[in-house]
Amino acid sequence: MIVRISGEDQFRLADDLHDQLDRLAGAAHTALDAHDEAAFTRALAELLDFVRANGTRVGDEEIETSDVILPPGDTTLAEAAEEFTGEGLIPD
């Protein structure tokens, strides 16, 4: 599967890592729901590190559509929360 870390790169990951990825994303989501900034930042970093460590970077000249898109590493809790409710990070 192709995973994009927004603002960074796309990575090619083995399909069987899907569950692990999901679990790590779940932790970030739990922290977000709990409005726990420190935990959220930590969980997000862990999630993105997992992708960087287990994936291969997709070359700049390759054109791939991502299966999963993850928020940038410096996403704040407020930004992430807005993403879930309002207009979100990405402008129209």
Partner: protein, 260 residues
């Protein structure tokens, strides 16, 4: 995929398809997509230029403030030498504020610096993908029937569109940050306009509003410390506070309707 990843993916994909819809013109998709991409790349370049402009503006302010700090420090020293403690205090208070603002600007300049780097990096990636799309498009046109080519090129356009949307996101975040910084830069400018960092030798006795605000703004103990240090270094005449030529613009004496 649920939760954070799913939501983020959905939001981005929705934006991508919106972006592509705008370019959708069945008869012309092949070349139109590419044209559209090149246009977007221009926008990215413009966005980077805006960030650079904002950064330069802050750097200019930094330089001005640095000069004020040096000048006010010199003036404080001169005032101490001359035994004019009140004048020295005012100069140090102003220096103190200038230094605080300077620190704030410094943080923001480095923040913008990293935004600029990220955007430049994103722009290069997007450029590479667009170039790759151009090549791919020609190959597809040559090898497939019109209908098949249409599908294949749409797929590729979606891929480039995703990259574009991602650059758009980075850009928006940079612009938001720049907006916040503008507020700070404006605040510094207001302080400047109000004469907060002005030459203290231009001060008359029993100064005005600015002076009183300064006293409440700046950290008194820091100023006192600076003043004592300076006095010790310079060896100011004892019994400090030889008068400036007028009454007693002492602490908290805000009434000072002194007129010469």
């Amino acid at each position: 995929m649920a939760g954070l990843t799913g939501r983020m993916s959905t939001v981005v994909k929705a934006k991508v398809s919106k972006l592509l819809d705008r370019a959708e013109d069945p008869a012309e998709t092949l070349d139109y997509s590419y044209q559209k991409q090149v246009e977007q790349l221009q926008n990215v370049k413009k966005g980077i230029a805006d960030v650079v402009t904002a950064k330069k503006r802050l750097q200019l302010q930094e330089t001005t403030l640095q000069q004020q700090v040096v000048k006010l420090d010199t003036q404080a020293r001169q005032a101490v030498s001359a035994g004019k403690e009140d004048l020295a205090r005012t100069a140090l208070e102003r220096k103190n504020i200038a230094q605080t603002e300077l620190q704030g600007l410094d943080t923001q300049v480095s923040e913008l610096e990293s935004q600029q780097e990220k955007l430049t990096d994103s722009e290069q990636k997007l450029r590479a993908k667009i170039e790759s799309f151009r090549t791919k498009k020609e190959v597809i046109k040559a090898q497939y029937s019109a209908a098949e080519a249409q599908v294949k090129i749409s797929e590729a356009a979606t891929g480039v569109g995703e990259q574009m949307a991602d650059v758009g996101l980075a850009m928006q975040r940079a612009v938001d940050k720049t907006e916040n910084m503008k507020a700070r830069a404006d605040a510094v400018q207001e302080l400047e306009a109000a004469g907060t960092f002005d030459d203290v030798t231009a001060l008359g006795p029993g100064e005005d509003d600015i002076d009183r605000q300064l006293k409440s703004l700046s950290s008194k103990s820091a100023v006192d410390d600076d003043l004592e240090k300076m006095k010790a270094e310079i060896g100011a005449p004892a019994g400090g506070g030889a008068q400036l030529g007028s009454g007693s613009p002492g602490e908290g004496d805000a009434a000072g309707g002194q007129s010469a």
